[in-house]
Symmetry: C2
Subunit: 323 residues, 2 copies
């Protein structure tokens, strides 16, 4: 028997009203299976969850959809498609196929938002790894040192492949949500580094088909952030708001340096008001990659999420839950 899923902005029956818009991204509770994460989110009083594909695929998208529905949770987003930057045709074709699968998974899960991490330079040996050697021979006099290090051409490939995927996403009622990643990941994970750049890439497409997500960790430093959040709202492309904190020192693996809201440097009050003023009424996902958070019991992690949400985010979020 399913619990009814509440409309966006509202709490499911019996869940906490002050957490009506707080969503657990399953990366935060990395060691939980999807059913475990769903149960933990519901037990903590949440009404929504953002899910990663690895945990969805373990049980299959149909079962995942049922598990989520059984607990009356909205799916705020599916993470993640992308990795569209390959220079060779075989890898590119495989990536497009995998993104079409991700679109179908999102549709099955009943979420409109498929978060896209677009990929880094072909010169990356692996995420976080050293650059591949330069090719033999002299480069063209007016070309890049190495095509695999050509960030301008790499960005063009992303644009081309978004164009190829957009009609498929539209057919399935799913939005490709471009995520700018922090510039420290530009070489190896995503050549989209600012919200403005993501919006420029999205501009040729229907806002219902290509959108953007604001993740505080990735964009808090951007001097143009307020203007670009407002632009995302005005264009109808603001598809998600993810929060976690910039903590120092960086972890050995900087991808896992994300801290709980309130543990670092980000001014959540200000950014949250910019997001509110842009008209965003959706869920606020907490997506933390950090060994300490992963080592903590899930109930404790959820309790911290709730406490920090109420203190740092909710007062600035607007909407019915803070009326």
């Amino acid at each position: 028997m399913s619990t009814p899923v509440a409309p966006v902005g509202e709490a499911a029956p019996g869940r906490r009203a002050d957490l009506a818009r707080l969503s657990l991204n399953t990366a935060t509770t990395r060691h939980l299976t999807l059913p475990e994460a769903v149960a933990a989110a519901a037990a903590a009083g949440l009404s929504s969850i953002g899910v990663w594909r690895d945990r969805v695929q373990e049980v299959g998208a149909d079962v995942a959809a049922k598990v989520v529905a059984d607990h009356g949770l909205r799916v705020s987003s599916l993470c993640r498609g992308g990795f569209l930057t390959a220079a060779d045709d075989d890898t590119a074709r495989a990536a497009l196929d995998d993104n079409r699968l991700a679109v179908r998974e999102a549709a099955t899960l009943g979420t409109h938002e498929l978060v896209m991490v677009v990929g880094g330079l072909p010169a990356a040996s692996r995420p976080g790894g050293p650059a591949l050697p330069y090719p033999a021979g002299a480069p063209a006099a007016d070309g890049p040192d190495d095509p695999a290090r050509d960030v301008v051409a790499t960005r063009r490939r992303v644009a081309d492949r978004i164009a190829e995927l957009a009609p498929y996403a539209a057919e399935h009622g799913v939005r490709l949500v471009l995520e700018p990643l922090h510039p420290m990941f530009a070489a190896d994970r995503a050549v989209i580094s600012t919200l403005g750049q993501a919006l420029d890439l999205a501009a040729p497409f229907d806002p219902a088909v290509v959108g953007v997500v604001v993740d505080t960790y990735h964009v808090w430093w951007d001097p143009d952030l307020q203007a670009q959040i407002a632009r995302a709202g005005a264009e109808g492309r603001l598809a998600g708001y993810q929060v976690c904190d910039w903590v120092l020192p960086l972890a050995a693996e900087p991808l896992s340096s994300r801290g709980h809201v309130g543990d670092g440097y980000v001014d959540f009050a200000t950014i949250t008001r910019w997001v509110r003023d842009a008209g965003y009424t959706g869920d606020v996902e907490v997506e933390i990659f950090h060994e300490d958070v992963w080592a903590a019991p899930a109930a404790q992690t959820l309790a911290t999420l709730a406490e920090r949400h109420v203190r740092h985010v909710l007062p600035h979020l607007g909407g019915p839950s803070v009326a």
Copy 2:
């Protein structure tokens, strides 16, 4: 007896013509005193050097100027002023005093360019360190979570203090050169993160008094880089070009993750042509912070600098040295 100092763009007598514009930044040979670094640069055939204040102050600016002149080297820049973001008056006043001293040191050394690293958020406990705790009590409903985490206000203080220093710099014939640092240093070292932002801050001032520097490590990822380099040239503010590579994995201290040109991900050919096309005719400083580079013998480091310059930078730099 002094060797004559060659005009910008030219090699001093007896020095290598192909290295006419290659400058050793003393941070690259961190363990050398200023006289040692000067001798190493001259021995390697260079005609210019970029100097850090710590090594200048060890011998005093007058002696430093004489040592440099005795070896016929141009001083491409003095590193670094800045740290203008303090929220309390005493720290701010001390920082302004120290910047005035840096201006006088630059004048004594005969360089026009004083590189400014503007400082991070007041919430930083130390560079690279964790954020300070939030202040006690509830924040204002429409203010930041914490004034020490307010990046917008912190940037405003930078603008105010540049305005305070500019007349002093002008009197001494020195330019305040704003350096955008990589966004991973925005919290703890510099709230200027893009070249466009640096140019916006410089805009109210005479281009001979407030300029900008392009350091590939900090700005290579910026989707707006080509346009902003062109803008810097058009405005007469392009005061320096520093090169080093983005290498992964990041070092435990990410400040010391900078690699030799050609060891990482940066497309130096493309960026160097953008700098050339912006009309830049000055020196190209190599400023590397990396334990492995610091551990190497200086002569080997200089040889690598020369080899990489000739391969990755010189062919795209334009000017008389590649005629």
